[in-house]
């Protein structure tokens, strides 16, 4: 294996906008996919625990030791999901920086003032021949003010919350669209609320609500690394979104559990409008379909993808009964243009 064969791919959490990878087609959750030698791979670790290293350098307000403690807490949060098998192991401090192709997954600060909307970013190194995931690095942009205070600090970004999001990417998760934004003055987007840690936009500095995983995050990581009978205890719903008889690409579909208010989402991921949402608790679910919020397609899809934003939010007219350990069967939802 040589460096030349390795291929680095990047996903980032930004303040206002971000770039992400093409999702794998017809997957049960928005997972990352990539192609090596004509073969499609789902981005995930094949051996655990995943060892990670921490750059031995702090920033004002956060020592390297505090940084390590905060990211360890975030790793622990993902490990604590009882229906997922992913585990992580701290390998030690290193002088290496995130982004170096050294075969080590490294987390640390980098000063990237030109990335004025990027709080943090996750990148991957995959073997260009075998498709194996070699390493995944996360950099935290030290151009921003950071905090590890237990209750958060006004004006500073909570490191543990942002780390939790990025470690979700490190584990192989893409972005969730469960959240609401609005276009603020000057065209920038402002987040109103989020329903998933993997929502692409951070709520705001000083906020620590992002330290806890939401049902959508738990379903996603459990779908990637199922454990504890996850596949037997949960079910999925799949179907097709159409408009004027044609499939809709990029429609955001949310399965809502009316018993407890939990939401798990995914997208229609091909031009036939097919979608699949896994990791649902058995029982009745409401399906809600909406276009991506505020035309923010870049957070989820390549600009070359034919993402359809011209339709009205709609509910499927029947409750869908998700079976235990199975799929609901194909659900057809027709939407109408705006």
């Amino acid at each position: 294996m040589t460096r030349r064969r390795w291929k680095r791919i990047v996903c980032a959490l930004t303040v206002f906008a971000l770039v992400c990878l093409e999702p794998s087609q017809a997957s049960a959750y928005l997972k990352f996919g990539y192609e090596v030698n004509g073969k499609q791979y789902t981005l995930k670790w094949t051996t655990t625990p995943v060892r990670y290293f921490v750059t031995d350098a702090g920033v004002p307000g956060v020592t390297s030791s505090q940084f390590q403690s905060a990211v360890a807490a975030a790793f622990q949060t993902w490990e604590s999901v009882p229906t997922a098998s992913i585990t992580y192991q701290f390998g030690g401090f290193t002088r290496s920086l995130p982004g170096e192709d050294d075969g080590r997954s490294t987390l640390g600060f980098l000063n990237e003032p030109e990335l004025d909307r990027v709080l943090a970013s996750t990148s991957y190194l995959v073997d260009g021949e075998s498709g194996e995931l070699i390493e995944s690095d996360i950099f935290f942009n030290s151009a921003f003010q950071w905090s590890v205070a237990p209750a958060g600090e006004r004006g500073r970004w909570d490191l543990q919350s942002i780390a939790l999001h990025e470690i979700g990417h490190l584990g192989g998760l893409g972005h969730s669209a469960i959240g609401e934004t609005e276009v603020a003055t000057g065209g920038a987007r402002r987040v109103l609320s989020t329903g998933a840690v993997m929502f692409p936009i951070a709520l705001g500095s000083g906020d620590i609500s992002g330290r806890s995983l939401q049902p959508d995050d738990i379903a996603g990581i459990s779908d990637l690394y199922p454990a504890g009978g996850f596949n037997d205890k949960t079910g999925s719903v799949s179907g097709r979104i159409t408009k004027n008889g044609q499939g809709v690409f990029g429609a955001h579909v949310v399965a809502f559990d009316p018993k407890n208010g939990q939401m798990v989402g995914n997208f229609s991921l091909n031009t036939d409008g097919e979608f699949s949402i896994a990791g649902l608790q058995p029982g009745p679910h409401v399906l809600r379909v909406e276009p991506i919020d505020d035309a923010d397609t870049d957070s989820f899809f390549e600009s070359s993808e034919p993402t359809d934003l011209n339709f009205r939010t709609a509910y499927h007219d029947r409750l869908i009964i998700v079976p235990r350990g199975g799929d609901s069967g194909t659900v057809a939802i027709a939407v109408v243009p705006k």
Partner: protein
């Protein structure tokens, strides 16, 4: 639910008015088989907003939801055995198709309020005791009080999900009996009506909360 309670109260008043007679029929039958219809009132199952987190840890609802198991009308078959002049024990099977309804309101994207449904079949297998005070019987009419418990099985239209639960009931009603004029296997026939306070738990609700409703049953019976 309020409508169900009104029906229950009206029926109890009816039962109370009927127990003033005093003559007693000469009913020597032992086994009773009956078939008929049962109405079961609706059940409130859950109210849950689609909450998202806001800056500072607050919440904002994408929409609100309220889910009910709608009222149902189904068929029932009962087999009872007279244990004494006062007590009769019986078992019943009730098949009662209904539907789950989730009412969606206040969608932030302006989607009009809507109700989303799914058909549900439910089967109740019940066992209970009837008390028929002899002093209140007339020639044709016998009031009774009843109580019992049951096993609940609910399944959706495609049978992809089967949920089980339990039930308890107390109630009362009336027999209208016509005794057979000639001796033979059939000792008596007639109609029976009762009103129950019914409590269901688990099933499609998938929790251990006890949810009250009302039920009204009307059957034709044959006594042997």
């Amino acid at each position: 639910m309020r409508r169900s309670l009104q029906v229950l109260l009206a029926a109890l008043v009816f039962v109370g008015a009927a127990i003033t007679s005093s003559a007693q029929p000469n009913d020597v039958s032992r086994v009773e088989v009956s078939g008929g219809f049962r109405w079961i009132g609706s059940l409130d199952l859950a109210s849950a907003p689609a909450n998202e987190t806001t800056l500072g840890g607050g919440s904002r609802a994408l929409f609100d939801s309220a889910t009910t198991l709608d009222q149902s009308f189904g068929g029932t078959v009962t087999v009872g055995v007279r244990v004494s002049q006062l007590i009769r024990i019986e078992g019943a099977v009730v098949y009662s198709p209904t539907q789950l309804s989730t009412r969606i309101t206040d969608d932030t994207e302006g989607v009009p309020d809507t109700t989303i449904t799914a058909p549900v079949s439910q089967i109740l297998v019940e066992g209970g005791v009837l008390a028929l005070p002899p002093r209140w019987r007339t020639r044709h009419v016998s009031p009774f009080a009843e109580a019992g418990l049951g096993y609940l099985r609910q399944l959706n239209d495609g049978r992809t999900l089967v949920e089980t639960g339990g039930s308890y009931y107390v109630g009362g009603g009336l027999y209208y009996v016509r005794t057979s004029a000639r001796p033979g296997r059939v000792k008596a026939t007639g109609v029976r009506g009762d009103v129950r306070a019914l409590v269901l738990h688990n099933g499609v609700a998938e929790d251990s909360d006890w949810r009250p409703t009302a039920a009204i049953t009307a059957t034709f019976f044959v006594r042997f």
